[in-house]
């Protein structure tokens, strides 16, 4: 009997082995993104103790629980404000929000736009599987027009969000989108996003073969990866207004935004420095207006 040499899984150290097997379905794309994330972390984070991961609720909300990091599985839609508080209270930490499209953009949509507006120093990774999967495949804010979900059995009649456009228009300094097929690009974008100061955003389109693909008769997870491969159009730097996703139409992928704008922390620090300077100056001038005897000097 021959024994093959043991090969170490390159991302094992970043995963909680004692929590395996995970809850995701066969063919689900979330695990793929976690693998990419682990590789990105290995590449760009030197002190893993300072990397904090925050998730909301849903299938992607479970990511926090599988990563061997300080990790928070918060409430539905509220990962971003939790992360904002965490980062403000300890700016030394690197804070990543990892959640799904329903969590981040529907129930958490208000927090998403405001975190982007204030350029909060967090990275947001949005796994977009076009539906609410944990609860059985309901339509969400990203479900393409005419696609079917359990709460839209005759097809969606609302326009979905174009996430890169939403993120950019609210002020995100880094915006990229890939599909689960683009593992190298995802890893690179996650690395770049984490290296950015301010609000960085990476959307990853993933298969949900159990629900979205099955109900819409789009085949297996593998079929979907093949479809992503053939129907993704990489347009780096394209105007994000061109990133709308229509049912079974081409998906525009790429890095769209990589800009520089002072982050929330930088703005706060600058403001506080000037406030403290002014307060010191005012105290000093008040001191000088006092009679000499009151200044604590010997007359």
């Amino acid at each position: 009997m021959s024994t093959a040499p043991a090969v170490e899984n390159p991302v094992e150290k970043l995963l909680r082995a004692d929590r395996m097997p995970h809850i995701w379905c066969p063919g689900c794309g979330i695990g793929t993104t976690v693998n990419c994330f682990a590789r990105a972390v290995k590449e760009c984070v030197s002190d893993l103790d300072k990397l904090i991961i925050v998730s909301g609720i849903g299938c992607t909300g479970r990511v926090a629980g599988y990563l061997e990091l300080d990790s928070f599985h918060t409430t539905h839609g509220r990962a971003i404000p939790f992360a904002t508080g965490l980062k403000l209270a300890n700016p030394e930490l690197k804070v990543v929000v990892y959640s799904g499209d329903g969590d981040l953009i529907a129930i958490g949509g208000n927090h998403f736009i405001h975190a982007a507006r204030r350029n909060a120093d967090i990275t947001v990774i949005c796994v977009n599987n076009f539906n609410y999967a944990m609860t059985g495949g309901q339509v969400g804010p990203t479900t393409p027009l005419d696609a079917v979900g359990t709460t839209s059995p005759y097809g969606v009649c609302e326009r979905p969000f174009n996430l890169p456009f939403l993120a950019e228009s609210c002020g995100a300094v880094y915006v990229a989108r890939w599909t689960a097929y683009h593992v190298r690009q995802i890893t690179r974008s996650m690395t770049e996003a984490m290296n950015k100061r301010g609000f960085s955003f990476v959307e990853v389109i993933t298969p949900c073969p159990t629900l979205y693909e099955r109900r819409n008769r789009l085949g297996t997870g593998l079929d979907r990866m093949q479809w992503f491969k053939e129907n993704s159009v990489i347009k780096n730097g394209v105007d994000t207004r061109e990133c709308d996703i229509a049912f079974q139409q081409k998906i525009v992928c790429g890095k769209f935004v990589d800009a520089d704008r002072p982050s929330l922390l930088e703005m706060v620090e600058a403001k506080m420095a000037s406030v403290l300077h002014r307060q010191r100056w005012e105290r000093m001038s008040r001191e000088q207006q006092k009679p000499i005897a009151m200044r604590g000097m010997k007359v």
């Binding site: 990790s71 403000l88 209270a89 307060q279």
Partner: protein, 385 residues
């Protein structure tokens, strides 16, 4: 520049309850506040926003109350002492996160400057109608601690106590002010730094690798670790085991939820805090909390002038409710008079504990004003009749 001289404004001041509350939080060591404007609580965060830069605190006005109530919890996990401040409609939005703080055992303070409700109600006028919401507002079984100050001085003093209790028991503490208390201006004495007792956070002494976030101590409260210290812990609002990992079964649920409840219920005597006045030979006792105590005192004084033996029990800590104390009290008095600016909330607890041993008179008020002393006086007279 951020020495204690800037932080604790030792001396006598003329402050309203909202401002005193802010100073109390600062004196307690609070260094992170997230909030959203809402009458009549806004002055608390305004003072915090004005005061924090020079003492190294962080204030952020979030996009709503939901965000505020969870931003503070992120900050606590990063090592901050944190609170948020609101009033009825905002507190209603925060309830899910009061549950999260109870479930994940986050020490933090929620200030509720109560106004008339339901819904938008009476933004600029008082009520005490959120008392049951404070106790039961979030879903599921849990326990919190709720304090009810009755003036600006107590807004200062009890804020320190509120933070201390939250640290000791790792629970959200609700600070139940009301519009009158918030906007009442009185003398507030801020003591010197060395007279202010602060309960430190219960940080674990275990090294990374050995620490598990929900292993309870002898008092059922687990030790805390902050994010970034290498423990690599997992925290979830799901039912979880001592390691913090989700476990979806009835056994784990019972173990966890019973502990969350028992860590407060078994310590009711230590947590309870009330003022007694003339209870020794009382025929009737007026049971009050918050602003109602001040109106009650006037009624009690008038009744005593008429020779009525009337005592005053003022609850400072309303939740957990001092059940045994009220039970024993009910056994030796003729009646308990309970004035509150609501249509009968805390009186339900009084009635439950008294269990028919004495008369209970609920003195209700729908809100928008405080009671007239006469109303409470009449109730006292009715009780002795």
């Amino acid at each position: 520049m951020s020495g204690d001289n800037d932080r604790i404004l030792t001396g006598a001041h003329f402050l309203d309850g909202d401002h005193a509350c802010a100073e109390g939080a600062i004196a307690a060591g609070c260094n992170f506040v997230a909030g959203y404007p809402i009458t009549p609580s806004t002055e608390v965060v305004e003072r915090i926003a004005w005061r924090f830069p020079s003492i190294g605190g962080t204030f952020i006005q979030m996009e709503d109350e939901i965000a505020s109530s969870i931003a503070i919890q992120g900050a606590v996990w990063a090592g901050a002492k944190a609170m948020t401040v609101s009033s009825g409609p905002g507190i209603s939005l925060m309830l899910e996160h009061i549950g999260l703080a109870a479930m994940t055992e986050v020490p933090c303070v929620f200030v509720n400057v109560q106004r008339g409700g339901p819904s938008t109600g009476l933004p600029t006028l008082p009520a005490q109608a959120d008392m049951m919401q404070a106790r039961w507002g979030s879903h599921g079984d849990y326990e919190v601690i709720a304090l009810a100050p009755n003036g600006p001085q107590e807004c200062f003093d009890l804020m320190i106590h509120a933070f201390n209790l939250s640290e000791q028991y790792r629970v959200p503490v609700l600070f139940m002010m009301d519009e009158v208390i918030g906007h009442m201006t009185e003398k507030v004495v801020i003591p010197p730094r060395n007279e202010i007792k602060i309960t430190p956070r219960r940080y674990t002494k275990l090294p990374p690798g050995e620490y598990e976030p929900y292993v309870p101590g002898d008092d059922l409260v687990p030790d805390f670790a902050k994010a970034g210290d290498g423990h690599r812990f997992h925290i979830t609002g799901l039912t979880h085991n001592e390691k913090g990992y989700p476990v979806m079964n009835a056994e784990c649920q019972e173990q966890l939820v019973c502990r969350l409840v028992d860590k407060i219920r078994t310590n009711v005597e230590q947590i309870s805090f009330f003022h007694e006045d003339g209870l020794e030979d009382a025929d009737v006792v007026v049971v009050t909390y918050g602003i109602s105590s001040r109106v009650g005192m006037r009624a009690i004084r008038e009744a005593r002038k008429k020779g009525v033996k009337v005592g005053h029990l003022r609850l400072v800590v309303v939740w957990p409710f001092p059940e045994d104390y009220i039970r024993h009290l009910a056994e030796r008095v003729g009646g308990l008079v309970v004035p509150e600016v609501n249509l009968g909330q805390v009186v339900l607890e009084v009635e439950r504990c008294a269990a028919g041993k004495c008369d209970i008179i609920s003195v209700q008020h729908a809100g928008g004003a405080v009671h007239k002393p006469q109303t409470i006086y009449d109730a006292i007279m009715e009780a002795v009749r």
